[in-house]
């Protein structure tokens, strides 16, 4: 059970959250202008890194807000969480 620091509510158990996949993938403003290839990358292609991953979570059974987290997928340690719209924070290695 991960313990996730919600930017609004503080540390809460994983069971209050839902995972939202890779963060910072903005929906194109004019999808119809995109090629199939470009739309495919937006829709499906993911970094899936082994290491630091900026990802979306929603505190769905808490404050219900979406937010972003930087998690190390090798250890599951959460290095930072931040609100939607904020840039991914610099974290020294």
């Amino acid at each position: 059970m991960l313990i996730i620091p919600c930017p609004y509510c503080g540390e809460r158990p994983e069971l209050e959250f839902s995972y939202g996949g890779q963060a910072h993938i903005d929906r194109p403003l004019a999808p119809s202008d995109l090629s199939d290839e470009e739309w495919n990358s937006y829709l499906y292609v993911r970094a899936n890194p082994k290491g630091r991953h900026a990802e979306r979570w929603r505190h769905i059974h808490g404050c219900a807000r979406f937010f972003n987290a930087v998690r190390d997928t090798r250890t599951d340690h959460i290095l930072a969480t931040y609100k939607v719209g904020e840039p991914e924070p610099e974290i020294p290695a």
Binding site: M1, E14, S18, Y19, D36, Y44, A47
Partner: protein
């Protein structure tokens, strides 16, 4: 290759089993190979075997960063079945199932393939509709799959609780009698031994750290922890780590890697005759030849490479198991572990060429990789040898996501209205 048989075992017995040799050599990597397979699991070792056996390409290396069979091959719950809905999937998995039926003899290694039957439980009307759709589709495709009433299901699996007054009563089941289980380690070792005998180099503790490409952009070899190894044909069969390896060639795929947990009970005398799966309450179970109840749990909700997961997955799975089989409530969990499964958006695999010439990939098996081992290996070898897919894996391309030709087994099992 030292032939395995009851006789050789007896003869060796007279000499206290002293005469057995390495089941596969421990070669140092050569400077170059005609083909390299990255990943020493069942899929990778099998691909190397079929490259040598079927396509005569024997100058092949399998590069494994740890010990062979140490990934999902050695961590899965070994369920084998082929009763998939869509024509493409049914063809793929039944191709594998047919190969399983002769694999021990093919490899001269007892992989303990056991056709005990795989029974999938229906708990609501929607399940019944979905399973019957599968059964009808399978019949048209020549894949065995039959409907059982709750009573017939209990006859087939006596520990099953069919009391109608439980939260999720058993309303019936779809049974594939040809389905079953196999001994996962033996699959890796059997392929390794057979491939080795055909000249394939199996190189353990050799991690790929880079993929080198020539001026034209084609693959020219791989950097490894044991130096550069040249090859114009590289097949990636790295399961949960596929994204990591392909990223070395700047190939990005629609993949995400999730922890998948499994657990076993203490060994008991035979009590559970088949494989039972319940997708509705997320649990599946069989009993191994050793006597352990082997239980598959769900994937954790987030991507991870930790090969473990949370306690809540085991508790939810066992709650489901204890409802289906209340007599096992006093049984005890002996081991709980996790693997890493790579999942595509339509939960079907990719066995295909990549945009990079000479680079091939077999990935995206999600929770279904083990059952496909011989088939996937055979088709991947074909794709690598001919530089074009076999008709069976032709639909399982990377481009299907761009074009929308998804093969979405999970979606087809839809959610009830």
């Amino acid at each position: 290759m030292q032939r395995f048989s009851a006789f050789s075992l007896f003869r060796q017995g007279l000499d206290r089993q002293k005469g057995w040799k390495n089941q596969w050599r421990k070669p140092d990597p050569k400077p170059a190979y005609d083909a390299i397979v990255v990943g020493g699991g069942g899929h990778g070792l099998g691909a190397a075997y079929y490259l040598a056996k079927v396509h005569g390409i024997r100058n092949v290396a399998v590069l494994e960063k740890g010990w062979i069979g140490g990934g999902n091959t050695g961590r899965n719950t070994t369920i084998i079945r082929s009763n998939y809905l869509f024509d493409e999937s049914a063809a793929l998995y039944d191709h594998a199932l047919k190969m399983w039926e002769g694999l021990s003899q093919e490899l001269n290694y007892n992989v303990m393939f056991s056709q005990r039957g795989v029974m999938m439980l229906a708990h609501n009307i929607h399940d019944i509709q979905v399973f019957k759709r599968h059964i009808h589709a399978n019949r048209v495709n020549g894949v065995d799959n039959e409907w059982l009433t709750a009573e017939e299901a209990k006859d087939f699996c006596p520990p099953l609780n069919i009391d109608p007054n439980v939260r999720y009563p058993v309303l019936g089941a779809a049974l594939q009698r040809r389905g079953g289980t196999a001994r996962h380690d033996a699959v890796a070792w059997g392929y390794a031994r057979a491939a080795d005998a055909l000249g394939v180099d199996i190189i353990e503790n050799c991690e790929v750290t880079g993929i080198r490409r020539d001026a034209a952009g084609a693959v020219s070899g791989v950097e490894t922890t044991r130096g550069f190894i040249a090859s114009q044909r590289v097949g990636v069969s790295a399961a949960g780590h596929s994204s990591v390896v392909l990223d070395m060639a700047h190939v990005r795929l629609p993949l995400e890697s999730y922890p998948l947990q499994a657990l076993v009970s203490e060994p008991v005398k035979p009590i559970f005759p088949c494989v039972v799966m319940s997708n509705t309450i997320h649990a599946y179970m069989s009993q191994s030849d050793k006597g352990e109840l082997v239980i598959g749990a769900g994937t954790d909700a987030y991507t991870s490479y930790t090969q473990r997961g949370g306690l809540h997955i085991a508790t939810e799975t066992l709650a489901a198991i204890c409802e289906l089989f209340p007599q096992f409530r006093r049984m005890r969990m002996l081991r709980n572990w996790g693997g890493i499964v790579d999942v595509t958006p339509d939960r079907s695999p990719i066995i295909a060429k990549t945009p990079v010439k000479g680079l091939y990939v077999n990935c995206g098996w999600g929770t279904g990789g083990f059952k496909a081992t011989p088939g996937a290996a055979h088709l991947f070898a074909h794709t690598m040898a001919r530089d074009e897919p076999h008709p069976i894996n032709a639909p399982f391309t990377i481009e299907r996501f761009r074009d929308g030709y998804l093969i979405d087994e999970a979606a087809a099992a839809a959610v009830a209205h």
